[in-house]
């Protein structure tokens, strides 16, 4: 009898658990909110409605970073719709890209997930198109039109990010430097880096410039020399060019000739900068959030990346990339998808949380209502970027670009491989990987596009 009762209890528990699927910890809401302001300009969100008929529902939202800023969107939405629980799940980058695609492929996975456009080809088949007014979206967001395919959009950019030089203000002042000393060209940069370097005999005590482990961003500055990443057909990699070699040699000389840093001093540039060991590093805008979170005591400033010749406008200062809005899982159940669609409408019109997100990553905002926001304009990183007109977007580059270029730089810096062979090796790997990906570069779409010099 006891056994029967135990089995019955287990069965009942199983039934209850099954019944809970897709439900959530939120409370049932009987009455739609009223009197809440409609948010947005052209694309609008009206919160004065019941979602999921007021019944509790839970959905997951996966991300690899920025959990605090993204959580703010979820909190704001849940405040309007207390029957909805959005559970944010933060995972390390490597684990994220191992788990997420396979979960999506098996028809599972979170209803919402953050996107990096280097995984565009991987994720695209599993993305549900946004249920939004496209004309209104394009009016409100810069660059949204570029993401519209067959009158559908699966994600857009909420901001634009690129690289720049970050410096430690205390070290800068100690070396007698002021804002007027921001170097405009690489030759001046060399001199500034030397001023900021401290040595005790052969031992570096403070690196003037540290680029260790920053190869995946530093390795693309060949644009300054007028060289594209891809050939004119936009599908053949053309990384093996004099511009890439020249770029790599400049940075190697900073270590080997000018001795402003070392491959053995502060093996990770960001960490070394955060710990106050290195005076300058080159990194992308996301460092702003990382520094505030992990190294809050560092007082830093930024300036635009120097160019070969300050009197000549470079072909491009650098490449940029868009930071993508979350995707909706096409395989999620209908109720969750409906909430995810409603949430994305909210997300795209939530000015305050969007502003904080943009500031966290030091982005040039895509949301036009933030274009003149004084806080964003005052952000030193955004200020340093200047006009984005001379920044080039190579398209949603597959991960092989960054991994292969990083390996090439590591081979040169640490393993003694000569730069030309390393770059040729990287190009070979990229070409082999691209043959399976079908990637086409967006470089020809650059307003100042010109084929690489022959």
């Amino acid at each position: 009898m006891k056994i029967m009762r135990a089995i019955a209890s287990l069965g009942a528990a199983a039934v209850l658990l099954t019944g809970c699927g897709g439900g959530g910890a939120g409370t049932t809401v009987e009455k739609a909110p009223s009197g809440q302001p409609i948010q947005g300009t052209n694309l609008t969100y009206d919160p004065n409605k019941l979602v999921n008929d007021g019944k509790p529902i839970e959905l997951e939202w996966w991300m690899w970073d920025g959990d605090k800023q993204f959580q703010a969107f979820a909190d704001s939405y849940q405040e309007l719709h207390p029957n909805v629980t959005i559970k944010t799940v933060n995972q390390p980058w490597e684990a994220y890209w191992t788990k997420l695609p396979l979960q999506l492929q098996s028809g599972k996975g979170p209803a919402l997930f953050n996107i990096h456009n280097s995984y565009d080809a991987t994720l695209s088949p599993y993305l549900e198109s946004y249920d939004v007014d496209l004309a209104a979206l394009e009016k409100d967001y810069n660059g949204a039109a570029a993401h519209v395919v067959d009158e559908k959009v699966k994600y857009i950019d909420y901001g634009i990010m690129t690289g720049l030089i970050w410096y430690n203000k205390a070290m800068w002042a100690e070396a007698g430097l002021t804002e007027k000393d921001y170097p405009k060209n690489w030759e001046d940069f060399r001199g500034i880096a030397q001023k900021l370097t401290k040595r005790d005999g052969d031992t570096i005590k403070q690196a003037g410039f540290n680029f260790n482990a920053a190869y995946n961003s530093l390795g693309f500055l060949q644009y300054q020399n007028g060289y594209n990443l891809m050939a004119e057909d936009a599908v053949t990699p053309a990384l093996d060019n004099p511009g890439t070699l020249q770029n790599m040699q400049y940075f190697l000389d900073l270590y080997n000739v000018d001795k402003v840093g070392s491959k053995d001093f502060g093996p990770k540039a960001i960490e070394s900068f955060g710990k106050g060991q290195s005076a300058m590093i080159y990194e992308w805008g996301h460092l702003h959030g990382t520094l505030d979170k992990n190294y809050p005591s560092i007082d830093y400033g930024t300036f635009q990346t120097p160019v070969p010749d300050a009197n000549e406008t470079p072909y491009a200062f650098d490449r940029y990339n868009g930071e993508s809005t979350p995707g909706i899982n096409a395989g999620a159940d209908e109720a969750q998808k409906a909430i995810a669609q409603d949430f994305m409408n909210f997300f795209l019109t939530d000015k305050e949380d969007m502003k904080n997100l943009v500031l966290n990553y030091s982005l040039a905002p895509s949301y036009k209502v933030l274009a003149d926001d004084p806080d964003i304009a005052a952000n030193p990183v955004v200020q340093a970027l200047g006009s984005l007109d001379r920044y080039i977007w190579p398209g949603p580059m597959p991960a092989t670009f960054e991994t292969s270029i990083t390996k090439a730089w590591e081979d040169v810096v640490y393993n003694g491989v000569d730069p030309k062979s390393a770059i040729a090796g990287a190009q070979k790997t990229i070409a082999s990987d691209l043959a399976k990906s079908g990637f086409t570069s967006a470089e020809p779409g650059y307003a100042h596009y010109a084929p690489s010099p022959r």
Binding site: E94, W97, T98, P101, L102, L104, Q105, A121, T122, P125, T203, N212, K263, D264, F265, G266, P267, S272, K275, Q277, A399, T400, T403, T406, K407, E410, D411, V413, Y414, N415, V417, D433, K436
Partner: protein, 318 residues
């Protein structure tokens, strides 16, 4: 020749007024219950093995002959192309060689250190054996990821404990001469406690008579160790070596956390290569081919270990 006769059944009726003796539990019924339990267990285990082991292995084997990207749904037959690409790839062979070096060194030190410390703890001269056992086993039960992160901090050339403590100036994880040895060092520290516990169990099972007899015959401690203890620990040593081979040929987490295979590919072990192909480039076909080659190497090495151990056992018995 022996004849067996079936005992005759007692057909006499039970005597009246006598207490009927309790019927002995039916052997057949007992067997039937046992059989049901056995069959259930075997079916469950068999089904689990088929579903969770044989099926994925079979699928991976079939997939190794295809261009297979589960995300795009591509599963195109390409024959032996993945294998020919793999076997003609310098990166694959250097990763395999590196994996071999890593495994041999770690296994050697795991066995040598494990045995030495087990013998030291087992000695009658050692007090507080339980404390030592616990201390040495502790790294084994600590999660590898946590250990790897701590060692990453310790290996920092400027702020790490190792350079600071020993007054060195080595970029442990980025100097190609030190990166792999650094991973090896961490792995030995993490895992030798497992061997200590197994060797201690082996030492406890050695008959004391044999050691006492040797002492009576005038053998000193060193002679007793070489001639009695070590040969009698051979089965345990083989067990430690084989489980270590299987485990270290698949070493992955420490590489992922400490170096991501770098600098360049100087610490890329075969499992990391498989991971990169499968989960960074989503080329499951190529990754499956690499996994099968690894499987063959693992099986061969295990077989060789068994053969060597059997040969040694035969020569001892002969």
């Amino acid at each position: 020749m022996t004849l067996t006769t079936r005992p005759k059944a007692d057909k006499r009726p039970p005597e009246k007024n006598n207490v009927i003796p309790r019927k002995p539990r039916s052997r057949k019924r007992g067997n039937a219950g046992e059989r049901t339990l056995r069959n259930t267990v075997i079916i469950v285990i068999g089904a689990s093995l088929l579903l969770l082991t044989a099926y994925p292995i079979g699928l991976a084997f079939v997939g190794s002959f295809h261009y297979w990207n589960p995300l795009s749904g591509a599963f195109d037959f390409i024959g032996l192309e993945n294998y020919t690409d793999l076997l003609s790839s310098g990166e694959f062979w250097s990763s395999l060689l590196r994996t071999g070096v890593f495994s041999v060194v770690v296994i050697f030190f795991r066995v040598a250190l494990g045995l030495a410390i087990a013998v030291a703890i087992f000695s009658n001269l050692t007090r507080g054996k339980a404390i030592f056992r616990t201390i040495f086993y502790m790294p084994t039960v600590t999660p590898l990821v946590a250990v790897a992160y701590i060692w990453q901090m310790m290996y920092n050339p400027q702020t790490g404990a190792i350079n600071t403590f020993f007054g060195l100036d080595i970029n442990w994880l980025y100097d190609p001469n030190f990166a792999l040895p650094s991973i090896i060092g961490m792995t030995i520290w993490k895992d030798f406690g497992y061997a200590v516990i197994l060797f201690l169990a082996g030492l406890h099972s050695i008959p004391e008579d044999a050691l006492e007899a040797a002492s009576v015959d005038g053998a000193n401690a060193w002679q007793r160790f070489w001639s009695i203890t070590l040969p009698l620990l051979a089965p345990m040593t083989v067990f430690v070596v084989i489980t270590s081979i299987i485990s270290y040929l698949q070493a992955f987490v420490q590489v992922l956390v400490l170096t991501q295979g770098g600098p360049g590919t100087s610490t890329q072990l075969i499992s990391y290569l498989i991971y990169e192909q499968a989960f960074v480039k989503y080329d499951f076909g190529y990754a499956s081919a690499a996994a099968f080659v690894l499987l063959i190497f693992t099986a061969l090495l295990t077989l060789i270990s068994f053969r060597l151990s059997a040969g040694r056992k035969n020569s001892l018995e002969g």
